[in-house]
C-alpha cells in the first residue's frame, strides 16, 4: 500500500492526455478514441480492459503512431519522458520504437515475417539496438560481430525459455508454435530492456496453459528490467492476475481507473459493475448476467455519456453532457455523474 503511494509521487514514464483518434470510414467520421487520459508509472503493470471495439488496441497502436493511412486524424499529447511522441520527428520516433518502447501483438505468428528465418530478424534488431553491447563483447571476449550477435541472441532466447536457439535461428514463422512465436516476440521486444512494453492482447490467442506461462514470463522479465507494461486485454480475469492497476475503457473513453483490488472489490462505474457481473464465477446464484444492449455506433455516438443508453442508473443529465473525471478514492477515478456529489462532498 505504502509502496504504491510512494510510486505515485514518482514521475510517470508515459503520460497520455486527451488522446483522440478519428477514422474516416465508409459512413463518415468515426471517433474511435474520444479523449483518453492515463499515466503509466515505472515498473507498474497497467491493464486496459474493455469489450471488443472499445478502442483498446487503437490506443496502444496510436501511442507509437503505428496506424498508417491518411484516413485518420490524431490529436492529444503522449509524453514519454517529457518528449511528446506526436511532436517528435519520424526519425526520433523510430529510435524510440522498440528500443525504448517495446510492443507485442495478438497473433504472434502473423507478426513474424514469413520469408525470413527468426534468426535473421532477431539479429537485425540486435544490430539495431545493441550496437555498443556488441562492441563491448567484441572487446571483452574478442569475438567477431557475427558471433557477438549470435551470443546475445542465444542469451535473450534462453531468457524467454527458448533453449534450442540453433533450431529457432533456422526456422520460419510457419514452423513454430504460437507459444514459441510469442516467446520469440517477447524476446525481441525486450532485447534492449525498454522502459515500456505494450502488450496488445498478447496472450488472447494462446490456449490457457501456455497463456499462464507466458504471463508469468512477462511479469518476471519486466520486474527484472524495470519495464512498465501497458497490458491490453478484454479478459478481466487476466487483468486481475497480473496487473497493479486497471483502466476500464468503454467506447473510446476510460470510464474508470483504479488499483486492481479496488476495481474488483468496489467498482463504481455502472459499466464496470456490469462487466464484473458478466464474469462467470462458480456458485453465483443468478445464472449468467450480461450488460444489456451493445456497443454504440461510433459514427454517431450517443450524446453525453456514451454508455447511457445501456445504463440502468441513467439520469436525464447523462444524455446531455459528458461526465468529468471524479476522484472517488486514492488513485481511483470514475467518469459518471453518480459520483458528482462525491466530488463536492
Amino acid at each position: 500500500m505504502e509502496a504504491m503511494a510512494v510510486e505515485n509521487k514518482r514521475e510517470p514514464v508515459l503520460d497520455v492526455r486527451n488522446l483522440e483518434v478519428t477514422f474516416n470510414v465508409a459512413r463518415g467520421a468515426a471517433k474511435i478514441l474520444a479523449g483518453v487520459d492515463f499515466q503509466l508509472f515505472p515498473r507498474e503493470i497497467l491493464a486496459l480492459v474493455g469489450e471488443t471495439g472499445s478502442g483498446k488496441s487503437v490506443t496502444a497502436k496510436s501511442l507509437l503512431n503505428l496506424i498508417p493511412g491518411a484516413s485518420k486524424q490524431t490529436s492529444g499529447k503522449v509524453y514519454f519522458e517529457d518528449k511528446d511522441l506526436f511532436k517528435v520527428s519520424n526519425k526520433e520516433l523510430q529510435a524510440i520504437r522498440g528500443k525504448h518502447i517495446g510492443m507485442i501483438f495478438q497473433n504472434p505468428q502473423a507478426c513474424i515475417n514469413p520469408v525470413f528465418t527468426l534468426g535473421e530478424q532477431l539479429f537485425r534488431l540486435i544490430r539495431l539496438y545493441l550496437g555498443d553491447e556488441i562492441a563491448r563483447m567484441k572487446l571483452s571476449e574478442g569475438v567477431s560481430t557475427k558471433q557477438a550477435i549470435q551470443l546475445i541472441a542465444k542469451e535473450k532466447l534462453n531468457e524467454v525459455g527458448l533453449s534450442d536457439s540453433k533450431r529457432i535461428f533456422k526456422s520460419y514463422a510457419s514452423e513454430v508454435s504460437g507459444g514459441m512465436a510469442q516467446r520469440f516476440m517477447i524476446a525481441q521486444a525486450l532485447l534492449s530492456s525498454p522502459k515500456i512494453l505494450i502488450a496488445d492482447e498478447a496472450t488472447s490467442a494462446l490456449d490457457v496453459t501456455v497463456q499462464a506461462r507466458i504471463l508469468k514470463l512477462l511479469k518476471d522479465l519486466c520486474a527484472k528490467n524495470d519495464t512498465a507494461i501497458l497490458f491490453i486485454t478484454h479478459d478481466l480475469g487476466i487483468a486481475a492476475q497480473v496487473c497493479d492497476r486497471v483502466a476500464v475503457m468503454y467506447s473510446g473513453r476510460i470510464v474508470e481507473i483504479a488499483e486492481t483490488k479496488k476495481i474488483f472489490s468496489a467498482p463504481c462505474h455502472p459499466y464496470t459493475k456490469g462487466l464484473l457481473q458478466a464474469v462467470p464465477r462458480p456458485g453465483r446464484s443468478n445464472g449468467l448476467s450480461f450488460v444489456p444492449g451493445m456497443i454504440p455506433d461510433l459514427v454517431d455516438p450517443p450524446g453525453g455519456c456514451r454508455f447511457h443508453p445501456r445504463c440502468n442508473a441513467r439520469m436525464e443529465l447523462c444524455s446531455k453532457k459528458r461526465p468529468e473525471k471524479y476522484v472517488v478514492g486514492e488513485n481511483h477515478e470514475v467518469s459518471c455523474f453518480l459520483y458528482e456529489e462525491n466530488l463536492r462532498g
Partner: protein, 298 residues
C-alpha cells in the same frame, strides 16, 4: 428496451447500406481519370448503339466503296481521312465500334455465365466433379487463350460471331478458377456451415449463401476483362479470322491500313488509336471500381 435497441440497429444497418453506396459513388467521383474514362466509354457505347445513324457517311461505314475519293488525308469532309476504298474512316470506326464493344461484353459475360456456376459447383462439392473441372481448367489455362481461339476459328471458319465464341471457350476457365478459389475460402465460414446444419440443399446454399459473397470479385474481374477481350477480338480480326470485309472492325481496319503505313499512315493508326483509347478507358474504369469495391485486395 432490447427491442428498441434492435430496431435502432436494424434501422442503422439499412441506413448504412445506403450511406455505403453514396460513399462509394463519392469515392468514384474522386478518381478524376476514372470519371473521364467513364465518359469516353459512355460516348463510345452510344456511338456503337446508334452506329450508321450518326455516321457522316453511313453506307460507306457499312462498306460501300467510293473509288474516286480513295486515300484522302484527314480533311473537312473526311475528318479522319478515307481508306483504300475511299470510305470515310470516321464512319467506319463508328460502325466498327459495335463489334469491339459488344463483342467484348459478350465474351466476358458469356465466359462468366459458364465459368461461375462451374466454379461454384467444383469448389463446393469436392470429389469427382470438382476434380474433373479443375483438370479441365488447368488444361485450358496451360495454353495462351488467344491461340486456342485462333485454332478454333480456323476450324469453324472465319467470321465475327465464330471469333467471339472461339474466344469464350478459352475464357471461362479464368472465372471458374477465380470462383473456385473464393468458394474454397468461404465454404468453411460460419454462415455456410450454419446453413448446412440447418439442412439446406447444396444448390440453395450455393445460390443464396455463396454466390452473393463471391459476386464482387466476379464483377471486378468482368470489368477488368473487358479491355483484354476487346484486344483479343482485335488480334483475331487483324489476322482476318474475325469480322469479314466489308463489315467494319477496328482490328481489320488496322490490317487493311498496314500496307499503307509508310504513306497513308492514318488508315491504320486511327482505328488503332480508337481501340487503344477504349481499352485504356476500360482498364482505368475497372481499376477504379476495383479500388472501391475491394479496397483491401490487390
Amino acid at each position: 428496451m432490447e427491442k428498441k435497441a434492435l430496431k435502432k440497429l436494424a434501422a442503422t444497418v439499412v441506413a448504412d447500406h445506403h450511406k455505403m453506396r453514396m460513399y462509394q459513388l463519392r469515392q468514384f467521383l474522386k478518381h478524376k481519370s476514372a470519371v473521364l474514362a467513364f465518359f469516353i466509354l459512355l460516348i463510345t457505347i452510344v456511338a456503337a448503339l446508334l452506329g450508321p445513324n450518326i455516321a457522316p457517311y453511313p453506307e460507306q461505314g457499312l462498306g460501300e466503296v467510293n473509288v474516286s475519293e480513295r486515300l484522302q488525308a484527314p480533311s473537312a469532309q473526311h475528318y479522319l481521312g478515307t481508306d483504300v476504298y475511299g470510305r470515310d474512316i470516321l464512319s467506319r470506326i463508328i460502325c466498327g465500334a459495335r463489334v469491339s464493344l459488344f463483342g467484348g461484353f459478350f465474351i466476358v459475360i458469356a465466359a462468366a455465365l459458364i465459368g461461375v456456376p462451374l466454379g461454384l459447383w467444383a469448389g463446393y462439392s469436392e470429389g469427382i466433379p470438382g476434380a474433373i473441372i479443375t483438370r479441365l481448367v488447368e488444361l485450358f489455362l496451360s495454353f495462351p487463350s488467344v491461340l486456342i481461339a485462333m485454332a478454333i476459328s480456323i476450324v469453324a471458319g472465319a467470321g465475327a460471331f465464330t471469333a467471339l465464341l472461339a474466344l469464350v471457350i478459352p475464357w471461362w476457365p479464368w472465372y471458374t478458377r477465380l470462383v473456385m478459389g473464393e468458394v474454397l475460402s468461404k465454404k468453411r465460414m460460419l454462415y455456410v456451415e450454419a446453413a448446412q446444419m440447418l439442412g439446406y440443399g447444396k444448390v440453395y446454399i450455393m445460390v443464396r449463401h455463396l454466390l452473393p459473397n463471391i459476386l464482387t470479385p466476379v464483377i471486378v474481374m468482368i470489368l477488368l476483362d473487358l479491355g483484354p477481350a476487346i484486344i483479343a477480338i482485335g488480334l483475331l480480326s487483324f489476322l482476318g479470322l474475325g469480322t469479314q470485309a466489308p463489315q467494319a472492325d477496328w482490328g481489320l481496319m488496322v490490317w487493311e491500313g498496314a500496307q499503307n503505313i509508310l504513306s497513308e499512315w492514318w488508315i491504320a493508326i486511327v482505328p488503332g488509336c480508337a481501340m487503344f483509347i477504349v481499352v485504356t478507358a476500360f482498364n482505368i474504369f475497372g481499376d477504379a471500381v476495383k479500388d472501391i469495391l475491394e479496397p483491401n485486395r490487390s
